[in-house]
Amino acid sequence: MFSTFPGHIKFTDEKTGAGRMAGVSFGGTVKRICIDLIPEAEAGDYILSRAGFALCVIDKEESKRTAAAAKEIEIKFRTENGEIL
């Protein structure tokens, strides 16, 4: 079993067919990741990578929505407890 990491696609190979690769940055270190499972991926996308394969494109808008919802819970709770007035 391998771990799952989010990464940022910097470039994709022109080659088509099995084993198409992309250069993906993980905190600044660029590694070659196979994008056979997400052929629609392109440079600029964020992806979830496992064992050298990209499993999905991370939806940036959904990410912002979820982060905002979590922040709202935090603010509401802090306000209820008198931390934020």
Partner: protein, 365 residues
């Protein structure tokens, strides 16, 4: 990645954990079937904040802790008796077989290669054509999709010295069987988001509807984990039993169709042993006949004796939420992180290792 900062804010995670605890008006027993999340909650001290009214028990969510003993025994047999090269992830080499793990076999001279990715295993086969490489992989659908892809690449590149030994499990089908077979008394489930990114939400919807319990699909960052618990508590307090997708940035309702196609092309559904739990119907995958030439077990006729799980390890009870690691008689005595006897202690993200390491740190402070 900038947007991840929001999900790694530990102060925010602590506040949301406290909010979850305060919203919980009843005592709830929830199952963490998300793999390493419970271990991460312990690591960040979040479990203590939410533990007053919310009892988090471990579920069968850690792919390596569920890997059957026999797949490790077969890999050891391949390396020690057939003198083949076994390529596997570092963590995979720590998983106990009946008597040894792959890491200990490496020290006896067996050719065990640790690889950082499945692609590296393929490259190893291309670089060293004189070696016969067996890629060992386990896990749920997200790992099954990777193995399926690797096989399709090996087929296109006509690699003759590459085979796989895999024991892939079907997450929702297995979880549902565990619920049924063990008659688990739990109120809600935190589900594995990385697996759901491949499978989608249909299997979990069946569990929510069959057992009338809420399920929240969670990401693996600290804020994700407590946010998922918060959403589960809100559902429990309101009497809901739906599937809520906290990890919508990665999980779509339909999952990854390309991955599902790869899985369908390469595997047939089969009964599978889940470590400590037993054989569950239609809970795993075996390679289809079309891919028989890549099936290491068949190609090399791997021999192994009847697999034995340690009589001291209660992993099955821990992964069905009926016992906690501290309740195991071997915990911290016969079984330690330095000398583990069971998979949940051997793996850094395992339930026993997380509790053991937390207690050790506490003792040392």
């Amino acid at each position: 990645m900038n947007f991840l900062h929001d999900y790694r804010d530990i102060d925010r995670a602590r506040t949301i954990a406290a909010a979850a605890a305060s919203r919980s008006k009843h005592s709830w027993k929830i199952m963490d079937a998300s793999g390493s999340h419970a271990a991460n909650l312990i690591k960040f001290g979040l479990d203590k904040i939410i533990s007053e009214r919310i009892n988090i028990v471990y579920g069968p969510g850690s792919p390596l802790c569920m890997a059957p003993v026999e797949v490790i025994d077969k890999a050891i047999s391949a390396a020690s008796e057939n003198h083949l090269t076994v390529a596997a992830a570092e963590e995979m080499t720590l998983v106990p077989g009946s008597r040894h793990n792959l890491k200990s076999m490496k020290y006896t001279g067996c050719d065990i290669e640790t690889v950082a990715s499945a692609v590296e295993a393929l490259q190893l086969a291309e670089k060293e054509p004189q070696k016969k490489i067996i890629f060992l992989n386990a896990g749920f659908e997200n790992d099954a999709a990777v193995t399926a892809c690797v096989l399709q690449i090996a087929e296109e590149r006509e690699l003759k010295n590459f085979t796989v030994l895999c024991s892939h499990l079907r997450y929702s089908a297995g979880l549902s069987e565990v619920m049924r077979k063990k008659r688990l008394e739990i109120h809600g489930i935190i589900a594995n988001g990385d697996v759901s990114a491949v499978t989608g939400t249909a299997g979990l919807k069946r569990i929510a509807s069959d057992y009338r319990i809420p399920v929240v699909i969670s990401g693996s960052e600290p804020v994700d984990m407590v946010h998922a618990i918060y959403l589960l508590i809100m559902q429990l307090e309101e009497g809901g039993c739906d599937v809520v997708n906290q990890y919508s940035r990665c999980v779509k309702e339909e999952g990854n169709k390309k991955a599902a196609e790869a899985i369908d092309k390469v595997y047939a559904v089969t009964d599978m042993n889940w470590r400590g739990i037993g054989r569950l119907p239609a809970s795993g995958y075996s390679l289809k006949q079309d891919f028989g030439r890549y099936d290491a077990e068949k190609v090399f006729k791997l021999k192994y004796t009847l697999p034995e799980e340690s009589i001291f390890c209660i992993a099955g009870k821990i992964h069905t939420g009926t016992k906690r690691p501290e309740e195991c008689t071997a915990f911290g005595k016969l079984c330690t992180f330095e000398h583990p006897i069971g998979a949940p202690m051997a793996l850094p993200d395992g339930a026993c290792a997380a509790v053991y390491n937390f207690l050790s740190r506490k003792k040392n402070n």
